[in-house]
Symmetry: C2
Subunit: 186 residues, 2 copies
DNA sequence: TTGAAAACTGGCCGATCGGTCAGTCATGAT
DNA sequence: ATCATGACTGACCGATCGGCCAGTTTTCAA
């Protein structure tokens, strides 16, 4: 009998984590669609059937890969909701950059899903939160500022892709300059 | 006997154009990888074998779809090569926006190819010209300005994707403002 | 030690992919 | 009218995909 539910089965969690780890790397390197369950299984050192034993399907693997980033974004949106307009914008600028840099891997993954992202319920929440964050980033209802915010996000996400050679800090500084120039905030 | 080689066989050219037309729409809507030769054939009103009769393979269809945009970009690079640094930058700002807006469809297509774009000789020239254009856009050897130019391109291309509802002119104005703010040119 | 549950796997399935090929049909010069 | 050539197609191929299942191995509480 298991008295403490917080103690996760060692084997289960270990295999699950390894699958997600390898799937992240493969998705980032070759894209979601181009990565097969067999590729993930081989990289994780198990069989394809094992991957499907731990996850209900390929989309479930994607959801697990995206989950940490989705959680961070959701928390940021929640935090921004309780701030004033200007404070929310400043928080969005700083935190969005941080999240994009830290989770730069998921940015690559999302790019490969864009054409069919509306039909993927696994990423719907993340996308929705991203749109919300875009509003905070604009800091205004002016259509031009909102469009510029979207422009900034596209540039930001694009810059984080294929940026493995750059330092996290360099990337952060670049994005900070770019965002503040675009949004005209000093 | 055919005396004038410039007179293309009507049927051949008509079918070829229709295939490229429909392929463009499908690639833009669903991405290159997600679009099958059968999809293209059905949309073009012919059989899959016919598509492969006119084109050596799926990559050849992609090359035909990208060709007009690639030609325009190549011409722009060539024109900028004969200008001064400042003039080349100004030309790059204006013309890059124009090309991205006019050929916004190919931007979607390229996005879907990014993870494996290095292995596609069909788009190598277009990518190379794009990098060259990025240099002209920076207008300086300063690493920061060059990075900002890349940032601008990412934002520009991202803005052109999924922008079917916006007017060409609205899109152009937005991109012009964004680029000049990022590059600090008026 | 034991036995039931958890973890895992090889083998298979239907579907779809890009691509090939032999052969049919249309066209147009002779 | 003939017939060589160009345009086109149905049928098929091997490969690979995501997913499923019966059965084997490992784990661990009793």
């Amino acid at each position: 009998m298991m008295h403490d539910m917080a103690v996760t089965t060692p084997a289960r969690e270990r295999t699950r984590r390894e699958i997600v780890r390898q799937a992240m790397d493969l998705f980032q390197a070759g894209g979601y669609n181009a990565t097969s369950l067999q590729d993930i299984a081989t990289a994780a050192g198990c069989s394809k059937a094992t991957v499907l034993y731990h996850f209900s399907g390929k989309p479930a693997v994607l959801a697990a890969v995206l989950e940490p980033a989705a959680a961070d974004v959701a928390a940021l949106v929640k935090a921004a909701a309780e701030l004033s307009r200007a404070d929310a914008q400043e928080l969005a600028i700083q935190s969005f950059i941080d999240l994009a840099v830290v989770h730069r891997g998921v940015v690559d993954v999302l790019q490969d899903i864009l054409p069919v992202i509306e039909q993927m319920p696994e990423v719907a929440q993340l996308v929705s939160d991203g749109m919300q964050l875009s509003d905070y980033l604009a800091g205004s209802d002016d259509p031009l500022e909102r469009d510029l915010a979207k422009f900034a996000i596209n540039g930001l996400l694009g810059e984080c892709r294929h940026a493995h050679e750059r330092t996290d800090d360099d990337l952060r500084k670049l994005c900070d300059i770019a965002l503040r120039r675009l949004l005209r905030r000093a």
